[in-house]
């Protein structure tokens, strides 16, 4: 009887089973309609006229070049922003200096500014009528309507990603570990690579993944500074839009599917890395629960 009663009782924490089930169902449904369905549509449309059409579209020089541009931008922008993010997070969390608050705010600015505004701003800084424009032209350095401009605009938009992931974590970790390492005789670099970095690597990796995804997908800022020159300065997102406006639906979806695949590769890479890292030598995850051992002290 007590068994029966216990079954009928609602859980001590949380809501009744009915509430729980409908909540889960709601989330699954919305997730499927909002996120999963469009993803499926992209691949279905891309392959709607058979694989050969898909392959032919992808093999177009313009599309290939767009893929190259996107990957090249990511390969340049992501490492630089990662280094910037780590440096900024380190400076903010481990040192006291005047202007620290300001720096924290400045790092956040790209989050709140529309990317297109950033693009226009770059136009005025590096453009022909801009601040550095004439000097750059005189030196024959091409920034706008070329890869450097695209990289710069992408970097502006994604500057906060790594720092934002690291700052809360490093704040919570405090300076004790670094002080301990230094008091044991470690140099600044040694402390960073042996103590700081291993303790922030998962947050950093997550920041890198977010940053990479955003760099590859960035449209607004890049569309302003790239000039949309087909086969020269088009990145994949710009190319997708271009094909779509040309009524090349299959082409647009094929290019979009490549972009999606790149994003999926990033996420899979992250999962694999995490898995390997967590499994290596049985090291406990830092966020994992502490296993309290029995006190064996005599």
């Amino acid at each position: 009887m007590s068994k029966y009663l216990r079954k009928a009782k609602p859980p001590r924490v949380g809501d009744a089973p009915a509430v729980r089930r409908s909540l889960i169902a709601f989330v699954l449904l919305v997730g499927a309609v909002l996120i999963l369905a469009p993803l499926v549509v992209i691949f279905v449309q891309a392959f709607s006229q058979g694989f050969s059409t898909f392959a032919r579209t992808i093999a177009q020089p313009d599309t290939r070049h767009a893929i190259f541009m996107t990957v090249a931008t990511a390969l340049i922008a992501v490492p630089i922003n990662t280094a910037f993010g780590i440096a900024a997070a380190w400076a903010i969390t481990k040192f006291d200096f005047p202007g620290k608050r300001l720096l924290t705010v400045v790092i956040e600015i790209p989050f709140s500014i529309s990317p297109i505004v950033a693009g226009v701003a770059y136009l005025f800084v590096y453009g022909l009528q801009g601040v550095f424009g004439p000097a750059l032209q005189a030196a024959d350095i091409k920034i706008l309507f070329a890869l450097p401009g695209i990289v710069l605009a992408s970097m502006f938009v994604t500057a906060p990603f790594v720092a934002r992931e690291l700052i809360p974590l490093m704040q919570a970790q405090g300076r004790d570990l670094e002080e301990a390492a230094t008091s044991l005789g470690a140099s600044g670099w040694r402390t960073f690579f042996s103590v700081t970095l291993p303790n922030i690597r998962w947050a950093m990796l997550y920041g890198v993944v977010l940053c990479n995804a955003r760099v590859m997908g960035e449209f607004g800022a890049v569309s302003v500074v790239s000039g949309n020159i087909r086969g020269q300065t088009n990145t994949l997102p710009l190319h997708v839009e271009l094909l779509y406006h040309d009524y090349q639906t299959v082409g647009a979806f094929a290019a979009a599917s490549i972009l999606t695949a790149l994003a999926l590769v990033t996420i899979v890479a992250k999962v694999i890395l995490e898995h390997q890292g967590a499994g290596r030598a049985g090291r406990p995850m830092l966020a994992g629960p502490a296993v309290e051992a029995k006190e064996t002290h005599q």
Binding site: A180, A181, R283, P284, A293, H297
Partner: protein, 338 residues
């Protein structure tokens, strides 16, 4: 290594944490810096370590001015309050870290041998492969100590070393730290807010209040001859009585207390629970509560003027709430009131 602090000052923003502290620590001594939070004790420790720079004054290691030597070159072993063990390294790797990063190159075998030695010293044989999250608080404390000792420091500095541990582990570790100190003879400075810990462990206790040294001496000296009301109260349970003194006797709460060394005038008198006798003397009192403890009975009494005192009695004493008797103050620390 003898350590000398000469009028060391440290200010954080506008807060003066340490006011001109001068202190000499003899080679091989075990010193406790004792004070309430905010008394500047940790700041002093961190300045000796080189984790903070002094604004003025100097810190000497032996005869050498160490004020501007950065922490990594100072040769100090620092044990942090929360141990600061590297969570991604095993116990053995934590202990080996200082030797690996040292400017003095050691072979892999040399390091391994030393780690085994240290694990034995801190009685953690066989736990070298565990991670810090897999051992108990007391064990982490000992790993932190082994890690600090691994680099053969000239000075050992400990910041609230037992603060985060429970009472029994704390007492054991205290005795054990004393043994290690006697065995290694390394100059040791530790910070605590726990007077029992300081008196139990240290050769000499330095008591701080608001960034100044108010008294220093052996545990016996500071316990028997506290030089101020602050030190008297801080070192242990003490109740305060106030009254006028005439020819070596103070009138308090309807009775008298003998204060032979005090001049005439107002005085404050501190009495500890063990300094009072029930059923003697001439201070009328009424029992308001009896608290039983394993080693005796703590009796709370109220005096005529409303002051509350506590006294300790043997466990077999028969006494209960409402009993009235007189009290005698057998011993007291008295200070003239300015």
């Amino acid at each position: 290594m003898k350590i000398t602090l000469d009028t060391v000052v440290k200010t954080f923003d506008t807060f003066r944490a340490v006011h001109g502290v001068s202190l000499e620590i003899e080679s091989g001594e075990l010193i406790a810096l004792l004070g309430p939070s905010g008394s500047g004790k940790t700041t002093i420790l961190r300045m000796v370590a080189g984790l903070e720079y002094a604004d003025s004054g100097s810190i000497l290691f032996g005869d050498k001015d160490a004020t501007d030597i950065p922490v990594r070159d100072r040769g100090v072993g620092f044990v942090f309050q929360h141990y600061a063990l590297f969570p991604h390294m095993t116990v053995a790797e934590n202990i080996a870290f200082g030797m690996k990063v040292s400017k003095r190159k050691r072979s892999r075998e040399e390091i391994a041998t030393r780690v085994t030695e240290l694990l034995a010293l801190v009685r953690l044989e066989g736990l070298g492969d565990r991670f810090p999250t897999q051992i108990s608080g007391g064990q982490r404390q000992r790993v932190a100590l082994a890690r600090a000792l691994a680099v053969d420091p000239r000075v050992l500095l400990l910041d609230e070393p037992f603060g985060a541990l429970d009472a029994n582990v704390r007492r054991d570790l205290r005795r054990w730290l004393r043994e290690i100190h006697d065995q290694l003879g390394i100059t040791t400075l530790f910070v605590t807010h726990d007077q029992e810990e300081a008196l139990d462990l240290a050769d000499r206790v330095v008591i701080l209040e608001q960034g100044r040294i108010v008294q220093e001496g052996t545990p016996e000296e500071v316990c028997r001859r506290p030089n101020s009301p602050f030190v008297t109260k801080f070192l242990g349970d003490a109740h305060r009585l106030v009254g006028p003194v005439t020819s070596g006797s103070a009138r308090v709460a309807g009775g008298t207390v003998a204060v032979p060394s005090l001049p005439d005038g107002q005085a404050e008198i501190f009495v500890r629970p063990a300094d009072l006798s029930w059923g003697e003397g001439d201070i009328p009192a009424e029992v308001t509560r009896v608290i039983d403890r394993p080693d005796g009975r703590r009796v709370v009494v109220r005096l005529e003027d409303g002051t509350t005192l506590e006294l300790d009695m043997p466990p077999e004493t028969r006494i209960e709430k409402g009993d009235r008797q007189t009290l005698r103050v057998r011993r007291a620390h008295a200070f003239p009131l300015a």
